[in-house]
């Protein structure tokens, strides 16, 4: 079944099985990865990708099956052993220490004796890596001051410095701007060209098709298929991942914009300068731009988390004078924030409490400071069904839910109040195909019901696919607003890099 990667085989997994109690996370998986190739590993959330990669990197030991590297059998009992053998992983959540400099992060090393200083050696190795791959770091900068893309670069340099030859990227584009992704794609190809093996774990088929040589799809813990990229189509891969053919995205209905819902005038916050933006009822306005163009400032200023230097925000005809989150929600706003873990959900509370995070604090669920628990439970259950949140019950701790279900719970919370405006920031980040489709459908439905949506995303395809109008944000200014009909990747890209202001 598995395609033979040939004599250059780097890693070979045969019959890998891993069980947790009664649950089988990996079921007799066979997989071969060759030196010099970019191998895409695909699958929905929960398909067993993460478990498999944890076995490869020594975090888990398989219950059955064997691994061999360069034809020699290996068994890693600790991550250090995998690393020593040349297998390194770029995690979605970077394993960097923000309070240390980039160089110090490189110099971190096992079994250090208290009288050796590895900084000079690390600097030398970083220079060697730069010479061979062109990857450059800023050694004396604190990691906390580096952007996401720069951190990812540091993560890769770190692995290369340690002699990693097989690199695993876990959804690397989730936090990258398109430009940064293009660079990373180039880098992956270069690494493969130099004889490294690269494993790319991703949901995004466009990325897979732009960079990978071969693919393997996991479904339900088992291998659903494997082959060369050249011989397949995106539709086929989606079918393998989901196990059925997904209905193609419905045709877009033309927008019928009503009265202005959100009116932003002359808003200036930190690096955001003089932003004018209007979102009407019944339309989706997309904001395109590379990461760090001022998106976070825009959202936080409208919400009232970040004090604005100048400008005004009007929501549903009300001018938000003293902007606070309370005022924003009271005026009919809703927000699907980008950073779920940090600002959207309370991991230690239950699913039900998270769904009712705002509703629970006002009538009808609460009267005179007292909560009606019965009504709250009913509401949570109703929304769980309506938004297809899969959990053991409304009392399940939020932190125990998968990322997709957490996002659905957030969606349920934000859309269930029938807001006049929804601000959605990177709403499908980290979600699998099915969950993504669900989110898109919900947002579109909201628009069709006459709601306004401000969609902020770094994924151009997403913005183009969903938006009725697109505002392009670059260097803290709105460089132009395009209608969906005239928006193409190249036009938007031109605006992103332009420096002059257009009306």
């Amino acid at each position: 079944m598995a395609a033979d990667p040939g004599p250059d085989e780097a890693l070979r997994l045969s019959g890998i099985t891993k069980r947790f109690g009664a649950f089988t996370a990996n079921d007799r998986i066979d997989l071969g990865i060759a030196w010099g190739e970019v191998h895409a590993l695909l699958g929905e959330n929960g398909a067993g990708k993460t478990t498999l990669m944890r076995i490869v990197t020594g975090l888990y030991q398989p219950d059955e099956g064997t691994m061999s590297l360069d034809g020699t059998p290996v068994a890693f009992r600790r991550p250090e052993q995998a690393l020593r053998a040349g297998i390194g992983m770029v995690h979605q959540h970077f394993t960097l220490v923000p309070t240390l400099t980039e160089l110090e992060n490189l110099a971190m090393a096992p079994a250090a004796v208290p009288w050796r200083n590895g900084r000079a050696a690390a600097r030398r190795r970083a220079a060697e890596v730069e010479a061979s791959t062109g990857l450059r770091i800023d050694p004396d900068r604190l990691v906390a001051d580096a952007s996401v893309g720069e951190r990812q670069r540091l993560e890769i340099v770190k692995l290369l410095c340690r002699g990693a030859r097989l690199l695993i990227f876990d959804e690397p584009s989730a936090s990258l701007s398109p430009g940064e992704w293009d660079e990373l794609a180039k880098l992956m190809r270069r690494l493969a060209g130099e004889g490294h093996a690269v494993v790319l774990i991703s949901h995004k088929l466009s990325e897979v098709f732009s960079v990978a040589d071969r693919w393997t799809v996991l479904r339900g813990g088992a291998v659903a298929g494997t082959g060369d990229i050249a011989g397949t189509t995106p539709e086929h891969l989606v079918e393998l991942m989901v196990g059925e053919s997904v209905a193609p995205r419905r045709e877009r209905t033309p927008a019928s914009p009503g009265a202005p819902t959100l009116v932003i005038r002359d808003l200036s916050v930190d690096r955001l300068a003089e932003v004018d933006l209007t979102v009407h009822a019944g339309e989706i306005v997309g904001v395109a731009g590379v990461a760090g163009s001022g998106q976070a400032e825009l959202v936080e200023a409208v919400l009232g988390i970040r004090p604005a230097a100048a400008g005004s925000v009007e929501l549903s005809g009300q001018r938000l004078e003293r902007r606070t989150p309370q005022a924003f929600y009271a005026a009919g706003g809703a927000l699907i924030p980008e950073d779920r873990h940090h600002v959207a959900v309370v991991g230690g509370m239950t699913l039900g409490e998270n769904i009712n995070l705002r509703a629970l604090r006002q009538a009808p669920l609460a009267r005179r400071g007292r909560i009606n628990l019965g009504a709250a439970r009913l509401r949570a259950r109703r929304l769980m069904t309506e938004y297809e949140v899969r959990a053991t019950g409304e009392n399940q701790p939020m932190a125990r839910l998968s990322g997709g279900n957490q996002q659905k719970a957030v969606l349920a919370r934000e859309l269930s109040t029938e807001p006049s405006l929804v601000i959605a920031v990177q709403p499908v980040r980290g979600l699998d195909v099915r969950a993504t489709e669900f989110v898109y459908r919900r947002l579109t439905e909201h628009r069709n019901r006459g709601g306004a949506v401000l969609l902020i995303s770094m994924d151009l395809d997403e913005v183009i696919a969903l938006s009725d109008r697109i505002a392009v944000l670059a260097h803290g200014r709105v460089r132009g607003v395009l209608d969906a009909a005239e928006a193409t990747r190249s036009r938007i890209g031109a605006l992103m890099t332009s420096s002059e202001v257009r009306p």
Binding site: L59, R84, T95, N105, A107, M108, A109, W115, N117
Partner: protein, 350 residues
């Protein structure tokens, strides 16, 4: 010279040394993510173990080794609880504190029924150098422990900020996942940090008993362990801040002892306080309004020089009040605990 003479500085140095030694160890331990609120108990263990050794062999070097062993023993228990069993570090610390006090008292009554007295550490007078005015007696007529403390602090600075081990240490306390991913043993590093802190606290305890005064009394550490912890926190988990904090505590304590035996507060105290506030304002450039008002008041007091004497408890509270004022004036950005402080590390979550 009145209050601020050489004897005053020497006294401040003697007060500071054991606190500084213990606090340096606690700093290392906390930078690795383990907070031992029972440091007082570890100090006592060191003090008693050192004394017990002395009653058996009467050799100061061995006494200090015994003290270190005593500190290590309790620190090992802390390590066992915090790193292996992964219990709540605060409760574990409280237990260590209670155990340290109880065990040392009990064993003292049991093994040394008749209190014994030994000669304290001799002062080492370095010929010629110790005759230099001011600096001479301050620097070159001290006992060995003062020197050892300086050496330990210097060494700690080198190790923490100039070696790979120091990087690993910071990573372990800040982002243990990252350390683990780099192949650094979080467990090993935390153990060594906890043991280092135990050894240093043990030595500091031994100094309090056999080094400084040559006797042991139950609960003789008198809250120095809590001061050391306060110094670590106040010093924002940096060695420099730690030094500043210990300096504040020691100087105010020395001033307080001096002033108690004076009929009234001498004018130079107000002058010195005014200079300190001025320096603080210049360094921090914050809290100008409040600081300025305090400054003016202090200058006025220095000029008018009223005959006042303050109750002893007010002087005793002074170090902590000063530390609080400094924190309030310094503001938020200056201190941040290691992110993983008091959090046990469980790998499968990585």
């Amino acid at each position: 010279m009145g209050v601020f003479d050489i004897a005053f500085l020497v006294s401040a140095l003697t007060i500071a040394a054991p606190i500084l030694m213990a606090a340096t160890g606690e700093l290392i331990s906390q930078r690795a993510g383990v907070m031992n609120v029972g440091l007082e108990g570890v100090l006592l263990a060191g003090a008693f173990a050192g004394y017990l050794t002395m009653t058996r062999v009467e050799n100061q070097a061995l006494g200090f080794l015994g003290g270190i062993a005593g500190g290590l023993l309790l620190a090992a228990l802390m390590g066992l609880l915090a790193i292996e069993v992964k219990v709540d570090q605060i409760v574990a610390g409280i237990a260590i504190g209670v155990l340290g006090l109880g065990l040392t008292t009990f064993l003292d009554q049991h093994f040394v029924p008749e209190p014994q007295t030994f000669k304290p550490l001799p002062r080492i007078e370095i010929p010629l150098l110790s005759d230099i005015p001011v600096a001479g007696p301050l620097l070159f007529d001290q006992d060995l422990f003062i020197w050892a403390t300086l050496a330990v602090v210097g060494l700690a600075a080198l190790v923490m900020y100039r070696t790979t081990w120091g990087i690993n240490l910071a990573a372990t306390g800040e982002t243990p996942v990252a350390a683990d991913a780099a192949g650094v043993s979080v467990r090993g590093l935390r153990w060594s940090a906890v043991l280092v802190s135990g050894a240093l606290a043990g030595a500091a305890g031994a100094y309090i008993s056999i080094g400084d005064v040559g006797v042991f009394r139950e609960d003789m550490t008198g809250g120095r362990g809590y001061l050391a912890i306060a110094a670590v926190l106040f010093g924002a988990w940096r060695l420099r801040g730690l030094l500043a904090a210990v300096a504040i505590f020691a100087v105010t304590d020395a001033v307080q002892l001096r002033l108690q035996s004076m009929p009234a507060v001498p004018g130079e105290i107000w002058t010195a306080a005014a200079i300190a506030v001025l320096a603080g304002l210049i360094v921090m450039r914050r809290g100008l309004v409040v600081g300025g008002a305090v400054l003016i008041a202090l200058v006025a007091l220095a000029v008018v020089h009223p005959v006042v004497s303050l109750p002893a408890s007010l002087w005793l509270a002074m170090p902590y009040v000063l530390a609080l004022v400094a924190l309030a004036a310094g503001g938020a950005s200056r201190h941040r605990a290691p992110s993983a402080l008091t959090l046990p590390y469980v790998r499968s979550e990585a």
